[in-house]
Amino acid sequence: MLSVRDLTVSLGPETAPVDIVAGVSFELGKGEILGLVGESGCGKSMTSLAVMGLLPQPGPRIRAGRVLLEGCDVTQLQPWQRVVAGHGRMAMIFQEPMTSLNPVRRIGDQIAEAVRVHDRLSGPPAIDRARELLEQVRMPDPAMQLSAYPHQLSGGQRQRVMIAIALACRPQVLIADEPTTALDVTIQVQVLGLLRELCNRLDMAMLFITHDMGVIAQLADRVSVMYAGRIVETAGVEALFGRPRHHYTRGLMDCMPSRNSGARRLPTIAGQPPAPGTVGAGCVFASRCAAVRETCRTAAPPRAEVSQGHDVLCAFPLDGGEPR
């Protein structure tokens, strides 16, 4: 469905590029939910924007790699160009439902706008379709809300509208960039439930980006962990949470308070991620890794498939024997 290969996104001049996303590859199958997890600054949002063709101008650019949607290269195309080229079946929802909707236009118009492009409908049929989409995202009283303005809705409702807009694109792939981070937990659980249900029902693939391991565990089928612009581990969700093989993934899970509640002290990962552009030849995690060895600092680690569908970017992965 969606295949991303060696995607590299860079800032700065052509002559001395700073890679903020370095050689990211992943595959997304039909109806599959791939979680992309990482801490702030690891490049996960840039990856999603690059895949969607929405990198801000001027700013970062795709320096290398390809984005293939159903086998077609859409790497350098913006969404409208994809629509024109017939590869527009991809949509995206964002972190801040508050600011992601145009404050001076009605909900219905904003949905219908996407309907017009993707369904070639206009006038009342487009509005009908918009209402239908609001129903699909479980918006209470959808007919009324068509004429509402974003500020009249609650945060959860706004995110539902965002999802409706995304659905209007009839996407095969939905990219969700931290869509619930700004929401309260009780609302988050509703939105996450809705997203999973829609994926199932519409047979839609989803790339779900978050920093929250809990959310990933609840939602994803497969998980990729990102660190300093690279995917360091990819696995099925059960395998990843059951037997993390990368030291970073393991560290990340260990330091979650809810996993350790009541413990006297939380395990931590020492230090902080390297700034983009300061990465040397060795492993990006070397400076923080508890099990670092000399070769880690000098040679880039290989990507190793430690088990079926479980890749690790580490020269000395944790052994998979002991489940956590």
Partner: protein
């Protein structure tokens, strides 16, 4: 300010050649004003009716005016008046606007009253306000500064008020308050230091527009006394000669434009330096 801070301030200028040009013109003006007696080829007051209204030539690069005075020398000496008026207006605007704005924001009741008064003053278009004041006080350099400054006092007050209201809500100010800091502490340690950079931006714009305001007053004969060389006075004196001697209007006018333009450029660059978005371009958000 630390050395790094100084580099940060210079960054927007280095990044933009046109801003550097502005800085250059500004420095040139300051130098001209400082060293006017040495730079000017002639006494700017020396009258010689026998060579009046000569076009630019090798002896008088900018020509001479109706008194036979050397225009170049007068243009150079006028830089003093430009800087005097500009800095005077800026100082007046800051000296009045900052206390009023800060206190208004910190003491809402007082602030309500003061800001209403500022509103009333703002209802007078600034040039009208300046004219009225000049007529009351009589034309002089000090009064021109006061009259133009009053218009910018209101805008400065508004800006300071808005900034202080925002600063007051800043977490570090709240943190300070939560530790028992008094008003004087808050103003001295938190609010004023953080007003410095936006006020620097405001000051450069005020400086720029004060040039234009002063020129207008001079032109209407209500600014600096006409015997003092200033670009506005030179324009006012020679406007009748526009067909006979167009160069007389050209050079002083160009100087006003250049000064105002350079200050605007500098202000613009500083504002971009302040604008967080400018820097956000270089740091990725999660």
């Amino acid at each position: 300010m630390s050395r790094d801070g100084a580099i940060l301030w210079l960054k927007p200028f280095i990044a933009r050649p046109i801003a550097l040009l502005g800085l250059g013109i500004l420095l040139g003006t300051i130098l001209a004003a400082t060293f006017a007696p040495w730079l000017a080829p002639y006494d700017p007051y020396a009258i010689d009716p026998s060579i009046r209204l000569t076009p630019p030539n090798a002896l008088h690069w900018f020509g001479t005016d109706q008194f036979g005075r050397d225009t170049l020398s007068r243009v150079i000496h006028s830089a003093r008046m430009a800087l005097l008026i500009g800095s005077g207006v800026v100082m007046f605007a800051l000296a009045t606007g900052v206390p009023i704005g800060v206190l208004s924001a910190l003491f809402p009741r007082l602030g309500h009253l003061l800001m209403r008064m500022v509103d009333v003053l703002m209802a007078f278009p600034s040039l009208l306000l300046a004219l009225g004041l000049i007529v009351v006080l009589g034309p002089s350099v000090a009064n021109a500064i006061l009259a133009i400054g009053l218009g910018y006092m209101t805008t400065t007050t508004r800006i300071v008020y808005g900034l202080t209201l925002r600063l007051r809500m800043e977490t570090y100010v709240e943190a300070s308050r939560s530790m028992g800091a008094g008003t004087a502490w808050l103003i001295g340690k938190h609010i004023l230091p953080n007003l410095v950079s936006p006020l620097l931006v405001q000051a450069s714009f005020v400086f720029a527009f004060a040039q234009l305001g002063a020129a207008s007053l001079d032109f209407l004969g209500l600014g600096a006394p006409p015997e003092i060389p200033s670009w506005g006075n030179m324009l006012a004196e020679s406007r009748t000669f526009i067909t006979r001697a167009p160069w007389l209007l050209f050079f002083p006018g160009m100087m006003i434009v250049a000064t105002a333009f350079s200050l605007n450029l500098v202000g613009d660059a500083l504002r971009d330096r302040l604008d967080p978005r400018f820097r956000q371009l270089f740091s990725e958000k999660g």
